[in-house]
């Protein structure tokens, strides 16, 4: 696929593809405000292989967004080490190896769909697209929005806005896609559809995905692994392997194996509130 060929990134330039996409080692994040100290993450360790798909599951307030922000170089850990493709998060950010999708699509309301997708070309030195790299219009097609290029965000539904945000994050073929509850505000039908399409996009592009959710079903359906976090302070409870077929559609959720996995995950979340 054209997008896969665009994945010229840090690992390739180092002539070494053996680095994990993410290596998180004993990362602790503390927020100090006037009144108190919040330990958002405590000694969190995990790794994601290149091309992997990790779901981050946990109740709200357990530090999922904080963890994503550390990977994206938006905050520094108080202690511990975060490596992205063998380098620092800052190196990954400046090399444009990261795409970020937020819960609120965070589109610029004065730009139409195609101009929103093009934003990464205009700022921060700009992504340089090669002749074979997917153009914004190709990415809008990839996310199923052909014909909506000229529409403004207020003319699009919530699901369509989120698709635009995904297309924008995919521009330049990032090696790592960070998604913070991107479908959390959508209705269940739209969310199911986008879950299926995200799996398809992941398989087509070969990009690594770190996906935050507080839905057990979304976590298990999407991820190759699910990292379960507990709150106060945010700690890793378990990293569950999701041994479902790689080429799966939503009907996999009706299989007994999926039901068992989901029950296992739900059990862990249930014990947190006990």
């Amino acid at each position: 696929m054209t997008t896969a060929s665009a994945l010229s990134g840090i690992a390739a330039s180092r002539g070494d593809t053996t680095w994990p996409a993410i290596a998180c080692d004993d990362v602790t994040v503390r927020f100090i405000s006037e009144s108190r100290v919040v330990t958002a993450l405590e000694k969190v360790s995990f790794a994601v292989a290149p091309g992997g798909f990790l779901s981050l599951l946990g109740p709200s307030g357990c530090g999922k967004s904080t963890l994503l922000r550390v990977v994206a170089d938006l905050i520094q850990p108080s202690s511990g080490m975060m490596r992205v493709f063998g380098g620092t998060p800052e190196e990954a950010r400046t090399a444009r190896a990261l795409g970020f999708v937020f819960q609120d699509a965070a589109l610029l309301p004065w730009r139409n769909a195609i101009d929103n997708v093009s934003l990464p070309l205009e700022v921060g030195g700009g992504v340089k697209l090669g002749p074979n790299d997917p153009k914004p219009v190709d990415l809008l097609r990839l996310v199923g929005l052909s014909g909506w290029e000229k529409s403004y965000p207020h003319e699009l539904s919530g699901g369509m806005r989120q698709r635009v945000a995904i297309a924008r994050a995919l521009l330049g073929g990032p090696k790592l896609l960070l998604m913070d509850e991107p479908f959390g505000a959508l209705d269940e039908i739209t969310r199911d559809r986008l879950n299926e399409e995200l799996r398809r996009i992941w398989m087509e592009t070969g990009t690594t995905i770190l996906f935050v959710t507080h839905s057990v079903y979304e976590a298990a359906y999407l991820g190759e692994q699910v990292l379960v976090l507990s709150p106060n302070p945010g700690r890793v409870v378990e990293c569950v392997d999701i041994d479902l077929p790689r080429d799966r559609d939503l009907s996999v959720r009706d299989t007994s194996h999926f039901v068992q996995l989901a029950a296992h995950l739900r059990g862990m979340l249930g014990r947190m509130h006990a």
């Binding site: 938006l74 444009r96 937020f102 965070a106 309301p109 004065w110 990464p120 205009e122």
Partner: protein, 275 residues
């Protein structure tokens, strides 16, 4: 797609009824203000004639209309300086407000130091600021422009600061993930985000700049709408007074509509929430 489904006649009837209702409403929106203005003028004329109000107290609408017609060149001559003052003051006041708002957003300490000063100056009423500025700047157009500028300044400053700051925090994080420079964040995010806020302040400023210029002309001025208002009052020429006021308001309304038009054109893309 090419074969049209046969239309349900009851549906068509409902649709044409709906259309007729829409037309009736549109017509009513046009006619009602005309009826309102007409009855106001009638009431005015009725009161002046019925109560035999002397012409030095209040004129009849017909006397005002006659004055507007007869003295049109003179009224226009006096409108020109007021227009220049209001427009220059508008530009000066709003441009400095925009620049200072930008400085405040990027240097918090500037805002902390100078915002209180600006608030204090803003609490002085225009009628009190006017003589001070006339003493400072003399009898020309300068003090009027300064007053018009001062009166525009504060609402635009406050709105512009809010518009530049109230950026979607996730859009801000996106810019940081994209390694955008401060300059790019300003021109691609903060400035476009502030435009709806800026225009709602500019619409207020369009009317207040005219008020500022007129109040400035009340003090030691021989030309302008403000000066004419004072002269007509002292001469008990109520018809001229009313005609002058009408000319001033027409200018004010036209200025407001001009800004509204520019707003429409500029914010076309911002979506319905922005307007």
């Amino acid at each position: 797609m090419s074969i049209a489904a046969p239309l349900d006649p009851s549906l068509m009837a409902a649709e044409s009824a709906f259309r007729a209702e829409q037309r009736r409403k549109a017509l009513r929106r046009r006619i009602m203000p005309v009826i309102g203005i007409g009855s106001f003028l009638l009431l005015w004329a009725g009161l002046v004639y019925g109560l035999k109000v002397p012409p030095f107290v209040a004129p009849s609408p017909f006397a005002v209309a006659a004055t507007l017609w007869a003295k049109a060149p003179m009224l226009f001559e006096n409108l020109v300086p007021t227009m220049i003052e209001a427009f220059s003051g508008f530009m000066l006041g709003n441009l400095s407000a925009i620049l200072i708002a930008t400085a405040f957003v990027y240097k918090k300490s500037l805002e902390e130091a100078f915002f209180p000063v600006i608030v204090i100056i803003n609490t002085i009423p225009v009628v009190a600021k006017a003589p001070i500025l006339v003493l400072l700047l003399g009898n020309g157009m300068e003090p009027k422009i300064a007053i018009a500028a001062l009166i525009c300044f504060f609402p635009t400053l406050v709105n512009m600061v809010r518009g530049l700051q109230s950026v979607n925090p996730q859009a801000m994080e996106l810019m940081r993930v994209l390694s955008a420079s401060q300059r790019e964040i300003f021109f691609k995010l903060r400035l476009p985000n502030s435009l709806p806020y800026l225009f709602s302040a500019l619409k207020i400023a369009a009317s207040t700049a005219v008020i500022g210029a007129i109040v400035g002309e009340w003090i030691g001025s021989t030309v302008g709408i403000g000066a004419l208002i004072i002269q007509a009052t002292y001469a008990f020429d109520s018809a001229l007074l009313y005609a002058t006021v009408i000319v001033g308001s027409c200018f004010s309304v036209a200025f407001f509509l001009l800004i509204t038009l520019i707003e429409r054109l500029t914010l076309r893309r911002h979506g319905p929430a922005a307007q």
